[in-house]
Amino acid sequence: MRVTHRMLAQTVNRNLRHNLRSMQKQSAQLSSGRMFTRPSQDPVGTYKVMRISGTGLMRNEQYQRNIGEGITWLTITDDALAEAVEAVQRLRELALGAANGTLADEDLKAISSEVKQILESLVGIGNTELTGLYIFGGHQTQVPPFQYNGSTVSYQGDPVNNGQRIVEITPQQTLPVNLTGDEVFGGTGTDLFQTVIDMYEALTVTHDQGMLGGDILQQLDAHLERLLQCRAEVGARADRLTSTEQRLKNEHIYLRELRSKIEDIDMAELITEFTMQQNAYYAALATGASMIYPSLVDFLR
């Protein structure tokens, strides 16, 4: 084949161009830290990365946030329940003491005023707030669910079948993170507050010691039983949240690794390749410089 000087120049030019193109690609990868930044550089990788970052990681983080929120709700619910349990246990002691029948009037008075205080604090527990939301009102979080008018306590929240706060924790799992007032304190008319009001009346108005040791004590036991069941329920839900959170965290690590495998560069490998490419480029430059110029012109007088 006949070779002309223009061909030599074009070959050098072409080689330099090809080298530069590779170097440009590699330096883009090195500076971004990623194998590809555009769909056409790796369509399948793009598809996978979009799925892993979006539907995978972002959704995973969202569920973790949901769970965090759920755990806050359940924790504060459990705290309130613990206080309620303590209060009911104290009421039970007081009822037992008052039913004894050997107490002086002053003692009964002291008991009755403590019962009254406990009633008020129980109403307070029923109206527990979390960042301005009443947690025992079902969906009625804007107003205190329990109203005490001095003689009765009325529940204004949603019933359990209609007031659950449902939180999604995985695409297939939802979980209520609240307990409604009726669930915790009993249905209207037979609720804990009514029992305490009845107890107060038995202490102050009817002085019915038999009732204190009988009905009231039985009712208090039933309330205590329900409260403990509620705590068990809350504990079980919190366990479920915690274990799901752990699973989500594991998945998060796995997804991040997966994404990294697809899109992150192998720094050592790429730098080696880049250096090799650079050497090739310099070699092409050097040979180009020595090839382009001389022709017979330089050697004829």
Binding site: V3, H5, M50, Q62, G138, Q142, R165, S295
Partner: protein, 466 residues
């Protein structure tokens, strides 16, 4: 034995021929770097006298220039034009797809994929905190970000599409200019040929014009005996002899087509040069990705609104509110109409998180909307919004990759064809220097020959005449 002065004639012809040789060598060297120049070769022939019976054959009359030949391979010329056409098509399509990729910015964190996920995340947040003003505000901001991004992307696609149209207009003008130029060269070349002459430079110029033309459109060239050319573009006449037919663009209901001035529609297919790449971009590529956005938007708006209308505002009985402004294909591109409804814009409490009236703590309707992320709604119930969009981006990637691969492959083919062509037609300075030295020596020798003849005649005249 020839005549005495016949030998002078041999010398004269030799000087003339060698000088011509040096002159052509000079022309070659001068044009060593001229684009489209084909090296020329001086062909000499020995002049032989007719043989006569009984007479000793004389040594000949000397030398004559038989032709100054343009060294060019028609085969490679044709191949180069065909590959040029193909390469420019893929290069142009690739340019469009590149532009679209840059606009979509996937898989970056600023793309629709991420923002759409953030939108659904915001609904999740609302489902957990339906009472929170801050969460409602953040949801509205996410929705603004999503609608704004989609409108922006669509608008930029529209701008890019408009640019392609302008470029097509300019390119068609360029074709017309080249056609006029070739027609003009046809005229000059046929004129010279009629006079029995030829100009290698004009032929080179015409080849260069054809080469330029083949970048833009698929041409077929028919050589005529007169030296003139007939050129067809897309199967329609573009020029013959000194007459050319201007091309023009016509808009046929949003689809562009190219016609020549006598009303014939050019048949332009995949691979048919830069113009085909622009037509493909304008008529097919942009509508495909813009259509995908419209499809995504109209479905998303309808699905979100359907659920949202079934929900209730914060702590109140009002229902039936649209979250997004409903889109109507009759009013133009759905993607450009993508926006939040006025009700939501004016009052955050109108975001219907609850499934029941007067249930401020109910986030179940928000959860229903958040679950649209998982719902198989697109592609006849086989894909989620994200699956669909990811699929579109993967298609964009595959298409872009294909165009890049084809364009690079054609570039390689072109390079090797051009190298072959250059190998045949290119000027080698070494060759030319050798030729020059040869011509110089031959010229010197011919001059010396005349000198010797002169001396011989001098001897003859002086010896005999004295």
């Amino acid at each position: 034995m020839g005549s005495t002065f016949g030998s002078f004639e041999i010398g004269r012809r030799a000087l003339h021929a060698q000088q011509k040789g040096a002159q052509v060598t000079g022309q070659n060297i001068a044009n060593a770097n001229t684009e489209g120049y084909s090296r020329q070769l001086v062909l000499m022939k020995a002049l032989v006298p007719p043989a006569a019976p009984g007479v000793e054959t004389p040594p000949g009359y000397g030398v004559a220039i038989s032709d100054i030949r343009r060294i060019k391979s028609e085969f490679y010329g044709d191949q180069i034009m065909k590959s040029t056409t193909l390469q420019n098509y893929w290069e142009r399509v690739r340019e469009t797809l590149d532009g679209i990729e840059i606009i979509f910015q996937e898989p970056e964190e600023t793309g629709i994929n991420t923002v759409l996920n953030e939108f659904f995340d915001a609904w999740q947040d609302l489902s957990v905190n339906p009472e929170s003003h801050a969460v409602r505000l953040s949801l509205r901001e996410q929705a603004e970000a999503l609608t704004g991004l989609v409108r922006d992307i669509y608008g930029r696609l529209e701008e890019l599409k408009f640019d392609v149209r302008k470029e097509l207009q300019a390119t068609v003008t360029q074709v017309n200019t080249l056609a006029a130029e070739i027609a003009d060269l046809n005229k000059k070349i046929t004129y010279l040929q009629a006079l029995g002459k030829k100009s290698n430079e004009l032929l080179d110029q015409r080849d260069l014009c054809l080469q330029e033309l083949s970048k833009l459109v698929n041409i077929r060239v028919n050589q005529k005996a007169s030296g003139s050319l007939e050129v067809l573009a897309g199967g329609c006449i573009l020029l013959h002899d000194d007459r050319h037919f201007d091309l023009e663009i016509r808009d046929e209901g949003g689809q562009l087509a190219v016609y020549n001035e006598i009303g014939a529609r050019l048949s332009i297919r995949e691979g048919d040069g830069g113009i085909a790449g622009m037509l493909q971009s304008y008529n097919t590529v942009f509508p495909r990705y813009q259509g995908a956005l419209n499809n995504l938007v109209s479905t998303l708006v309808n699905e979100v609104n359907d659920l949202h209308k079934g929900g209730y505002v914060f702590d109140g009985p009002t229902t039936g509110i649209n979250f997004f402004t409903p889109v109507d294909p009759d009013l133009g591109a759905e993607a450009l109409q993508f926006s939040i409804s006025d009700e939501i814009k004016t009052d955050l409490n109108n975001i219907a998180a609850a499934s029941q009236a007067d249930h401020p703590g109910d986030g179940s309707n928000a959860l229903k909307i958040a679950r649209l992320r998982e719902a198989l709604i697109m592609e006849e119930g086989t894909a989620t919004f994200h699956d669909y969009f990811r699929g579109v981006m993967a298609d964009l990637g595959v298409e872009g990759r294909e165009a890049e691969r084809m364009s690079l492959a054609m570039e390689r083919v072109m390079e090797s064809l051009q190298e072959k062509q250059e190998s045949i037609s290119g000027v080698s300075l070494d060759d030319e220097m050798l030729n020059l030295v040869q011509y110089q020596h031959a010229y010197n020798a011919a001059a010396r020959f005349l000198n010797v003849l002169d001396e011989m005649l001098g001897v003859l005249f002086s010896e005999i005449g004295s």
